[in-house]
């Protein structure tokens, strides 16, 4: 088997041996912020500058890249790189020489720690700021963690990548994207073909793999091939825990432990679910990590292997996005060591060329602003002279993205208007009147239909054999014959009310193509020239566009195709006999609907029909052409209207309404005055940034914390920082339930005030955003219990508990500051005591990485 592999692969590689070795230029990823000063005041900052300005510099000579620029310098590698590179050193040294401050940001803590250590060795004057550690924050070179910003990068890679596909059940790799980034359509299609042919085989193989017993799996084969071809080290991404373990076991069968390989081989199984530390110990060469791994730990490899292209994202299996793919596949190819990286993607499900193309060639996830207002932001901006939140909104990146859409919309309006003016209708006025009459009639017709569709009116007439017309949005099935109807109770998700749905089974002429699919819901009407096949289709009552007074005889047994087709013949016969159209049931005379509203509608219809018939145009031979023109014009007019509305929306400053609402809330709660001067409460709220500042401030001013012990206060605060869901709601003792109730009352009041201020807020959701699940856990921890003990108290993950505790400490520190601001030392001491109570042992052990 391995031989077949090798040959196929070899030939593929031969093709590309002419390929140039990658540029030797060292690259560094990491975002560089320029001069300080832009981000000092309001506490929140973001880069107003677009990354594209400086990303093109990738091809420039190094010296010109950094010299004399005030722009932020962006790292230029599509990926976060591993070791402190020459360029980075150069840039830092240059910046320091120019007396600039250097801020190196990386998206994850572990990477920051690593960078800090490296830079510290190099420059000494280096600081670190992450979620848990702050070292020397005033240093001239500062390493920080930021929100993941892996989107800011260029498409430039120093080491080119080759993307291969391994179809399950197939016997070789197919090169789909070469190192120049060209998508090889033909190769891709061949691979797809192999996949289709080997469909059954692949399925069988899958099962075997899951069991982990049946022979060597595809992964095994590929890895073996990789070893034979010296393409190691390799990182294998697998998106399920189970597979991951199975693969790991298989890998142990391979003997990697030859002397020279020992150092080189590093098998990394990336598992999107959990860190399997036990496994880690058993298999010293396999490392289990989370997907974050792809962001940039020091773990480059030559080859990256994806065992699947789909992953489970909590709800559903989905294709991995091209952004994720880029990030992960980018692990391949070590700079300076490999002339190209190899990416192998295993596909075992039928992947359409479009999906595959999207995945392999797709661009990175777009950079979108997630800017949103918070009370803390508003308050912090209010307290500083001259800057106001309105200004901030106008200058945000979010706003910028929004404004960028304007030219397109303007163009659209212009085009539509031109089209509108182009359409010239002779005798326009009278045509328009005629058009309007017809529109009215159509509208009234709909109203009548609605009456007819009321189950209590139409059900008695839906006997078997009744001729009905079925229309589903664009699909007009024409006439069909009712076979049966049934009632389905449909529980509305929000109201919980029973809302019966009536489904009519109708024998319809459907296209043969659509019937191949087993689900009859997918049936499509036959094309006029197609013979079609009669099929029973379940139809919702409101899709019946007309009910005829004619009933047909239908054969008893509808299962044979011939019987069904005979019904079609009868329908055609009926249509022949009524050349003016099949007679319909009269809503009043035949169906006996006694509704006054319906009568009125029918009167109106009569009046309009009279006007239509008496209109001079009605008998005009040109009617049809003129009418369609008019219809078109009216449609364009509607388009223009909506486009203009869009334009108006685009020109407004986004979130301005929300800002107004928020200010109103702040005023009503006494945080700020009507002239936007912040009051004492506002100042206190400014101190609290890591949890709901409004509620906490209100609670504090209402003296909720006064009578609580430090442990109780700490437990109560845990509601604000714990965000995960827990299934079991612990039963709280009165000493915790009491404060919780008070807190919820306070929250209700804020929700009420917010609602009054027209801020969209759902009281229930707001209240449930404070999760009391960990209150007793925190309380017990604060009273001195062991970690093992508190872990048993809840089903929440240990990691979540620790995270909660750490955030709690942060919040307590802010509460200390807030208490200080109002001048209450008892409260301040209480919160400080809370900190000392929870800050002990494993929960606050320093990061593993530092």
């Amino acid at each position: 088997m391995a031989d077949a592999f090798g040959d196929e692969l070899f030939s593929v590689f031969q093709d590309d041996s002419t390929n140039e070795a990658g540029t030797k230029k060292d690259q560094e990823k990491g975002k560089w912020k320029g001069p300080p000063g832009s981000a000092d005041k309001a506490g929140k900052h973001f880069d107003g500058k677009l990354p594209t300005e400086s990303t093109n510099s990738g091809k420039n000579k190094r010296d010109t890249d950094f010299e004399g620029t005030d722009e932020p310098i962006f790292g230029k590698k599509p990926r976060i790189e591993e070791t402190i590179a020459e360029d980075l050193r150069y840039a830092i040294a240059l910046a320091l020489r120019e007396k600039q401050r250097v801020i190196f940001t990386s998206p994850i803590k572990a990477l920051s720690n690593q960078k800090y250590r490296e830079m510290y060795e190099e420059f000494q004057d280096v600081g670190l700021m992450t979620g848990d550690v702050t070292i020397n924050p005033t240093a001239s070179c500062l390493v920080m963690t930021t929100e993941p910003c892996h989107v800011i990068y260029t498409d430039y890679r120093p080491t080119p990548l080759q993307h291969y596909i391994f179809p399950a059940g197939g016997d070789g790799l197919h090169l789909v994207v070469d190192e120049n980034g060209d998508f090889r359509e033909d190769n891709f299609n061949t691979a797809m073909q192999v996949l289709r042919d080997a469909g059954d085989l692949a399925k069988g193989d899958q099962k075997g793999r899951k069991g982990g017993t049946k022979g060597p799996s595809n992964v095994f084969k590929i890895v073996k091939m990789i070893m034979e071809r010296n393409f190691q080290p390799v990182i294998i991404f697998s998106f399920s825990k189970k597979d991951c373990e199975a693969y790991a076991l298989q890998m142990t069968k391979l003997d990697f432990n030859t002397d020279e390989e020992k150092k080189m081989v590093e098998e990394v199984f990336s598992n999107a679910i959990d860190c399997l530390s036990d496994e880690d110990k058993k298999l010293p060469q396999a490392l289990f990590a989370t997907e974050t791994f792809a962001m940039g730990i020091n773990m480059p490899a030559r080859t990256v292997l994806f065992t699947n292209a789909r992953k489970f994202d909590g709800k559903d299996f989905r294709w991995i996005s091209s952004g994720e793919y880029i990030q992960m596949s980018g692990r391949a190819g070590r700079r300076g060591m490999d002339d190209r990286g190899i990416v192998i993607l295993m596909v075992d499900e039928k992947m359409s060329p479009t999906v595959g193309k999207q995945l392999l060639k797709g661009s990175a996830d777009p950079l979108n602003s997630a800017f949103h207002l918070t009370y803390n932001m508003v308050l912090n901006l209010l307290r500083v002279e001259e800057i106001n939140p309105e200004y901030m909104l106008e200058k945000s990146f979010y706003q910028f993205q929004h404004y960028r859409a304007i030219p397109g919309v303007v163009e659209k309006v212009k085009n539509s208007e031109q089209q509108y003016n182009k359409i010239v209708i002779p005798n326009e006025e009278s045509v328009v009147i005629y058009y309007k009459i017809r529109q009215q009639l159509a509208k009234l017709g709909k109203e009548i239909e609605e009456y007819i569709h009321k189950p209590k009116y139409c059900l008695p007439f839906l006997q078997p054999g009744r001729l009905v017309k079925v229309k589903n949005e664009g699909d007009d099935f024409g006439w069909g014959v009712v076979v049966n109807f049934s009632k389905k109770s449909n529980v509305k998700p929000n109201s919980g009310e029973l809302d019966p749905l009536y489904v009519v089974e109708v024998l319809l002429r459907c296209s043969k193509e659509s019937l191949k699919n087993s689900a009859t819901e997918a049936a499509k009407p036959a094309k006029p020239d197609e013979k079609g096949e009669m099929q029973v289709v379940p139809v919702l009552v409101h899709l019946l566009s007309a009910i005829s007074s004619v009933r047909l005889y239908i054969p008893k047994d509808l299962r044979p195709v011939d019987n069904r087709q005979s019904v079609l013949k009868s329908i055609q016969e009926v249509q022949k006999r009524f050349p003016d159209g099949i007679p319909l049931l009269d809503p009043i005379d035949d169906m006996g609907i006694q509704d006054q509203g319906l009568k009125k509608v029918i009167q109106k219809v009569e009046a309009f029909e009279h006007r239509m018939y008496s209109h001079p145009l009605h008998n005009d031979p040109n009617l049809e052409t003129v009418y369609t023109l008019c219809e078109k014009k009216a449609q364009i007019a509607i388009d223009i209207k909506s486009a203009k509305r869009e334009l108006k929306k685009a020109r407004t400053v986004l979130q301005m309404d929300e800002l107004k609402c928020r200010k109103r809330v702040l005023r009503r709660l006494g945080f700020a005055t009507s002239s936007d001067v912040i009051e004492m409460k506002g100042r206190v709220a400014c101190e609290i940034s890591s949890a709901d500042e409004l509620l906490l401030t209100e609670m504090m001013f209402n003296g909720l914390f006064n009578d609580l012990s430090a442990e109780q206060a700490t437990a109560l605060l845990s509601c604000f920082v714990f965000q995960e869901n827990s299934s079991e709601m612990p039963k709280l003792t009165e000493q915790l339930a009491g404060p919780l109730r008070q807190m919820q009352e306070c929250a209700k009041r804020i929700a009420k005030v917010s609602a009054e201020a027209k801020l969209e807020i759902d009281e229930e959701t707001y209240l449930s955003s404070f999760k009391p699940h960990l209150m007793d856990v925190v309380y017990t921890w604060a009273t001195g219990a062991t970690f093992a003990h508190i872990c048993k108290m809840t089903d929440v993950f240990e990691g979540s508990i620790i995270r909660c505790m750490r955030r709690l400490e942060e919040l307590l520190r802010q509460m200390c500051q807030a208490a200080k601001a109002i001048g209450n030392t008892e409260l301040e001491n209480k919160f400080a005591e809370g900190i000392t109570k929870i800050k002990r042992d494993i929960v606050f052990a320093a990061s593993l990485y530092l």
């Binding site: 000063g37 002279e385 001067v677 001013f701 209402n702 003296g703």
Partner: protein, 293 residues
């Protein structure tokens, strides 16, 4: 040469006029504010024998359950975002010490001021040596509070062109409690002069600058002689501020402007006569009430 001579007279108590517009709960140190234990104590109070007792003289303020006493006469305690006017008292390494009428000297770090010309860079050793050239002892500056240290000392910054060294003008020192908090504390009054109402109680009155777009970074004082007319306006404003303060009126742009207008019938030097002071402040108060009214 005619001279006006005055004999000492007993000062009239202010409370009768003060109590009119708002019924303020005034306390002196040692007064019991409340015996209700449901309240929380804030600044200017202490708990003694289950009672909440005032520790300073001033008005009691309540926010929900929090009770604090706002002192009438006090030192300045800084809050982030405040505008202050201060005087450089010392030049140290990488920082200036600034007197801002607070309990501790405030700090202006070399790194939190604009360099001349608005250049943005890390401060070098040369900058440190040139510090006395930027600001020296005795210079007045306007600045904003950037941070408050745990001991209450204030760190200032002048990272905006509107802050910086103050040139020619008049300084009036009042109690910080008399400066009303507003969205802006820089006012160009229509009478031809400008004021900076520092939250720390330092009021700076200066001629309205003609062109504001001077990119000097605020370190070159304009030493051109100020016109007599401007000087007169400034002196009148100064006396008005003083009279408002003597009558315990809050200082903000409208009150100063109304007082200025009320003082116009009098000569500048006469404004400080107690009866004139009382008269113009009364008129000012009247107008303010009408406006609110």
């Amino acid at each position: 040469m005619a001279m006006a001579m005055r004999l000492p007279v007993a000062r009239k108590p202010l409370s009768e006029t003060l109590g009119r517009d708002t019924k303020k709960h005034l306390v002196v140190p040692g007064d019991t504010i409340t015996t209700d234990t449901g309240f929380m104590r804030g600044h200017g109070t202490y708990m003694g024998e289950e009672k909440l007792i005032a520790s300073v003289a001033g008005s009691v303020e309540r926010v929900n359950k929090l009770i604090c006493v706002k002192a009438l006469k006090t030192r300045y305690s800084g809050e982030v975002g405040d505008i202050v006017v201060g005087r450089i008292t010392e030049v140290q390494q990488k920082r200036w010490k600034v007197d801002t009428n607070s309990r501790l000297d405030s700090v202006l770090l070399l790194s939190s001021m604009n360099l001349p010309g608005g250049e943005l860079r890390r401060r070098s050793a040369e900058d440190e040596l040139a510090m006395r050239g930027f600001l020296q002892e005795g210079d007045l500056i306007s600045a904003e509070v950037q941070a408050v240290f745990s001991d209450g000392a204030v760190s200032l910054h002048t990272r905006s062109l509107k802050y910086g060294k103050l040139g020619q003008g008049v300084l009036v020192q009042v109690s910080p409690s008399l400066v009303k908090r507003q969205k802006t504390h820089f006012h160009d009054l229509p009478c031809g002069a400008s004021v900076i109402l520092g939250n720390n109680g330092f009021i700076w009155i200066y001629p309205t600058p003609e062109h504001k777009e001077e990119d000097t970074g605020g370190f070159t004082a304009n030493l051109e002689p100020v016109l007599l007319a401007d000087r007169e306006v400034m002196s009148r404003l100064r006396n008005c501020v003083v009279s408002l303060v003597t009558q315990r009126m809050m200082l903000y742009d409208t009150s100063i402007l109304y007082c200025y207008e009320a003082s116009l019938p009098h000569q500048i030097k006469d404004i400080l006569k107690p009866e004139v002071m009382e008269e113009i402040v009364l008129e000012t108060r009247q107008r303010l009430l009408e406006q609110e009214g």
